[in-house]
């Protein structure tokens, strides 16, 4: 879709929401919207797209109550603002939107979470991404390092960039709007997404990318949408396997789940953001046992998070059940960098090659 087309579609779909309210008001109906319920209880596996999406449960917000009327009013202000922003070809960050609402009197947001949530509602209602509304997150995108060539549309024109040859030690930084990227060619056997910066740097230093023709992507903790979108696009376009390498604790499994299956908050765009074929490399609870890795005891919150994952439909596989139960039994967790206890080369020479072989990737 060209930028002009995208703008037009986004504008029309936003206006369509307001139009529905307008028609409701003209016929004497109380304006309302219905949205899927955004909770763990209402996500379902989509067999076709192989991702988790929102189910059929919907909640209706009708302006018949003061709270919902205010919600609709805020939404109308946001739509009005976004329409203007698209027409004027300007953009703003989610944080800026929150501050802009200061001038909207009744319709002003009380916290940024509220405006973020409302933007997600608009994404659901329009079936478009917030980037189409010229909204971007303020967070930096993650970085890529490896045998991959892409073209970025910058303000100063198109740039072709090779993510090994044309970048510095830190790699290529992913822009917030990934739709401006074209992936041109690659020489990769697989993509490895890494949770921590320390491990990402270790792999670069050890020359893991060159030795195995691997594209390294730094997730920077819970990955931003743009990072997940890049993984999704590389996987779709070149059909190279994606593996995820994180710490061995419940929070890191959630990072993997959001890469592979989509996040509950953004389940409406799971098919754009999730990479269902992604594999989990580790650290697995069984690795802690098998390699006798340095470890910490689980905290109460860790245990609660693990138990909650046992009831999360995204972790409802034999593999995850076995691993999580093992971890609860051992009552231990380890970081990626715990492999350093076996020497700095252990992770690139021993652990990763053996795990990749297990998964049939090399």
């Amino acid at each position: 879709m060209s930028k002009e087309e995208l703008d037009r579609t986004a504008k029309l779909r936003l206006i369509e929401i307001a139009r529905r309210w307008y028609d409701q008001m003209v016929t004497g109906e109380i304006p309302s919207i219905s949205l899927p319920t955004r909770t763990k209880q209402n996500i379902e596996y989509d067999d076709e797209a192989e991702v988790w999406k929102y189910g059929d449960r919907e909640s209706v917000r009708s302006a018949g109550t003061a709270k919902s009327a205010l919600h609709l009013l805020k939404m109308s202000y946001v739509i009005w603002f976004l329409k203007k922003q698209i027409l004027e070809n300007r953009s703003s960050t989610l944080r800026e939107l929150y501050y802009i609402s200061e001038g909207w009197k009744k319709a002003k947001f009380s916290a940024q979470d509220e405006s973020n949530f409302l933007i997600e509602d608009l994404e659901i209602l329009t079936d478009m991404q917030r980037e189409a509304f010229h909204l971007r997150p303020e967070e930096d995108g993650a970085t890529i390092f490896g045998p991959l060539k892409l073209r970025e549309q910058t303000r100063r024109g198109a740039r072709d960039i090779h993510c090994q040859d044309d970048v510095g030690e830190a790699g290529y930084q992913i822009p917030s709007n990934v739709e401006n990227l074209d992936f041109l060619e690659h020489d990769a056997r697989f993509v490895i997404a890494i949770e921590t910066g320390g491990m990402y740097a270790r792999l670069i230093e050890n020359g893991f990318d060159a030795e195995y023709n691997a594209v390294l992507i730094h997730l920077k903790g819970q990955p931003a949408r743009s990072t997940r979108r890049v993984l999704n696009r590389i996987n779709n376009k070149f059909d190279v396997p994606v593996v995820v390498f994180t710490d061995g604790d419940p929070w890191s499994y959630r990072i993997f789940a959001s890469v592979a299956y989509g996040a509950i908050k953004s389940a409406h765009i799971s098919d754009l953001l999730a990479t269902p074929k992604a594999h989990f490399i580790g650290v697995q609870p069984s690795d802690i046992r098998d390699y006798n890795l340095p470890s910490d005891h689980l905290t109460e919150r860790d245990v609660a998070a693990l138990n909650s994952e046992l009831s999360d439909p995204r972790f409802a596989t034999d593999y995850w059940k076995e691993q999580i139960q093992l971890q609860l039994k051992m009552n231990l967790k380890s970081e990626q960098q715990a492999f350093a206890a076996k020497g700095l080369d252990f992770v690139t020479k021993e652990y990763l090659p053996s795990r990749l072989a297990d998964l049939g990737i090399i």
């Binding site: 936003l14 206006i15 307001a18 139009r19 309210w21 307008y22 008001m25 003209v26 004497g28 109906e29 109380i30 304006p31 302006a63 018949g64 109550t65 003061a66 009327a69 205010l70 609709l72 009013l73 109308s76 202000y77 739509i79 009005w80 329409k83 009744k106 319709a107």
Partner: protein, 600 residues
């Protein structure tokens, strides 16, 4: 000389007047402040009773004038039947002289002490006689008396008796002067206000030094004067029975049947059998042992409760409500008249009312208005069975806070009407605690409490709903404005939505494809009957619901439908036509209707 002889010389009979001189508190004259209230109370009681007997609407005038630093002149005038001149000295100048003492019916005064006690009090504090003017009708002349009481003999001393001019055609005027203070002015006005609440048929005018107040009547209905009844066998005491027997010439059976209520041949027979006395012996021949057996038998034979309708005159729920609404501004007021009951053979009725909110003070104890036979009780609230019954109810159940007595913006009225109100003392300040009466008070108030609770929860619910609706209606116009701006269309008419949210009746007229539709929706929670007036050039001959009538003027047809609308229901009519014209809804409060012409 023996001591006994000495003592015997000192022993002598005491006159009633003398007794009361020493025991003023028993009659409510314990302090100068109180004396003024008691005097007015006695005079007003007499005036109201007299008017009631004469079946006239009471028109009472009260004046209180300061004569010197501590002497006040009190005047009470009524438009009652008046008193024949020969009786006047006894009514005002002799204690324990009255017309009602021997009757069994509800009345304010009873013993004939009150007003003469006031005359006595005046005499004791200022030494001045009291002046009475009375006239019995337009044909007779008015008489004026100056009276004192002979304290030793309890007989009237008439100082002046003369014919005089008086502008009232009938009535009585009492003028008494005594030492007092007006420290209890508020209490006095309260007393008159409360009197006016339970006597909504009376007009009371007051001139208090330079101020004047009027308690207007709200009901023009003369209250029916209660009729005396015979004593009930269960309520009789031995002394009374002895007097009745002594005054009777008939045989015992006839004495029982004629002298008592609810006693027929069968009951009289049972009493005779039980006491072992022949029904044929003359009633007055009974020995005191036989009298004792008779009274025991009378208590033990089952006798139906005494009749209550004729001898009692409850105020009635409507008049209590009117009376209260006249003197107090409240959001809620409800009254209850219980059916009559009996204690120890005395019939009684309990009436109660509960008021809430409005201008009642929001803090502190509830305001309690106690009445006995339409007379306000203003002293000794704590000692009264009414107060006791009020505190024994768990008011929290009815949404009222409580610390002993209920607290908050609450008004409680209790009226006990009886042929014999059981007071704790002769000053008639408090009702004695009689289980039967307390039970009735509690039941009446609990019943009212339930009403209040329903009212309060409905009010709270309404308030929340209203707040919400108001909030919504403040937001929707802004939403409409923003939405119209986004879609770049004219501002939509949101009155039907507001009508819906504010729960009104919404009427809508529109034309689509040559068909005129009128739709009326009732979003209120009440059924409404409305008339729909639609004036246009269309005859509406094919209306899906034919109009109730149609009039034509210059080619304009006015079609009228009369429509009953249940809450939540929709009424609709369609007819072929060109539309235009007007739509008007009548028969409903303007605030509750929204009319929308979609095509204008």
């Amino acid at each position: 000389m023996a001591l006994a002889d000495e003592l015997a010389r000192k022993q002598r009979s005491i006159s009633v007047a003398e007794f009361f001189e020493k025991n003023k508190h028993l009659l409510g004259f314990d302090s100068p402040t109180r004396g003024i209230i008691t005097t007015i109370k006695e005079a007003v009681d007499n005036a109201l009773d007299a008017c009631e007997e004469a079946m006239v609407l009471p028109d009472i005038y009260i004046a209180i004038k300061k004569i010197s630093s501590d002497v006040y002149r009190i005047i009470v005038e009524d438009n009652g039947p008046g008193i024949v001149p020969d009786q006047i000295p006894f009514v005002f100048g002799k204690l324990l002289y009255g017309s009602r003492f021997h009757q069994i019916k509800q009345s304010r005064g009873q013993q004939g002490i009150g007003i003469s006690a006031a005359v006595l009090y005046a005499q004791l504090t200022t030494g001045l006689p009291s002046t009475i003017i009375s006239r019995t009708g337009p044909e007779s002349r008015a008489y004026r008396f100056d009276i004192q009481i002979n304290i030793e003999s309890n007989e009237p001393d008439v100082l002046v008796r003369e014919e005089t001019e008086w502008d009232r055609t009938h009535g009585t005027r009492v003028q008494i002067e005594f030492r007092s203070t007006l420290a209890a002015k508020k209490r006095l006005l309260d007393y008159l206000k409360y009197t006016s609440v339970v006597n909504p048929h009376a007009r009371i005018r007051v001139e208090l030094d330079d101020e004047s107040f009027t308690f207007e009547r709200v009901s023009d209905e003369v209250i029916e004067c209660p009729q005396p009844i015979q004593p009930h066998p269960h309520g009789i005491e031995i002394g009374h029975l002895k007097r009745m027997l002594a005054a009777c010439d008939a045989p015992l059976e006839d004495f029982l049947i004629q002298g008592f209520c609810r006693v027929g041949k069968k009951t009289a027979g049972e009493m005779c059998t039980l006491s072992g006395l022949s029904p044929d012996i003359p009633a007055r021949s009974l020995s005191s042992d036989e009298q004792k057996r008779l009274i025991d038998a009378m208590q033990n034979v089952k006798v139906p409760a005494p009749p209550t309708l004729q001898c009692l005159s409850p105020i009635g729920e409507d008049l209590i409500t009117q009376g209260l609404e006249k003197e107090f501004q409240m959001d809620f007021v409800r009254a209850r008249t219980r059916s009559s009951s009996v204690f120890s053979g005395h019939p009684f009725v309990v009436e109660a009312a509960l008021g809430y909110g409005g201008k009642l003070p929001a803090e502190g104890n509830a305001q309690i208005l106690r009445f006995a036979n339409r007379v306000p009780l203003i002293y000794q609230q704590g000692a009264c069975a009414i107060t006791g019954s009020i505190s024994q109810i768990s008011w929290k159940n009815y949404g009222i806070s409580q610390s002993g007595l209920p607290t908050g913006p609450v008004l409680i009225l209790v009226h006990v009407a009886s042929t014999n109100v059981p007071f704790t003392s002769e000053s008639k300040d408090a009702i004695a605690s009689i289980p039967e009466i307390e039970r009735e008070i509690v039941l009446a108030l609990q019943d009212l409490g339930r009403d209040l609770k329903t009212y309060l929860s409905r009010r709270d619910k309404n308030r929340i709903q209203e707040d919400r609706a108001r909030a919504v209606c403040a937001i929707i116009p802004e939403l409409a404005e923003k939405v119209a701006e986004i879609v770049d269309m004219p501002l939509p008419d949101i009155s039907p939505i507001e009508g819906r949210i504010m729960k009104k009746v919404v009427a809508k007229k529109m034309i689509r494809d040559g068909k005129v539709s009128i739709e009326v929706k009732n979003y209120t929670s009440h059924p409404e009957t409305i008339s729909i007036y639609n004036t246009s050039q269309d005859g509406a001959g094919d209306a899906t619901t034919p109009p109730d009538f149609v009039t034509e003027l210059d080619n304009e047809y006015t079609k009228v439908w009369k429509v009953p609308l249940e809450p939540g229901s929709v009424w609709r009519v369609d007819y072929r036509g060109t539309g235009g014209g007007t739509l008007e809804i009548r028969g409903i409060d303007e605030k509750k209707i929204v009319v929308v012409d979609v095509d204008v």
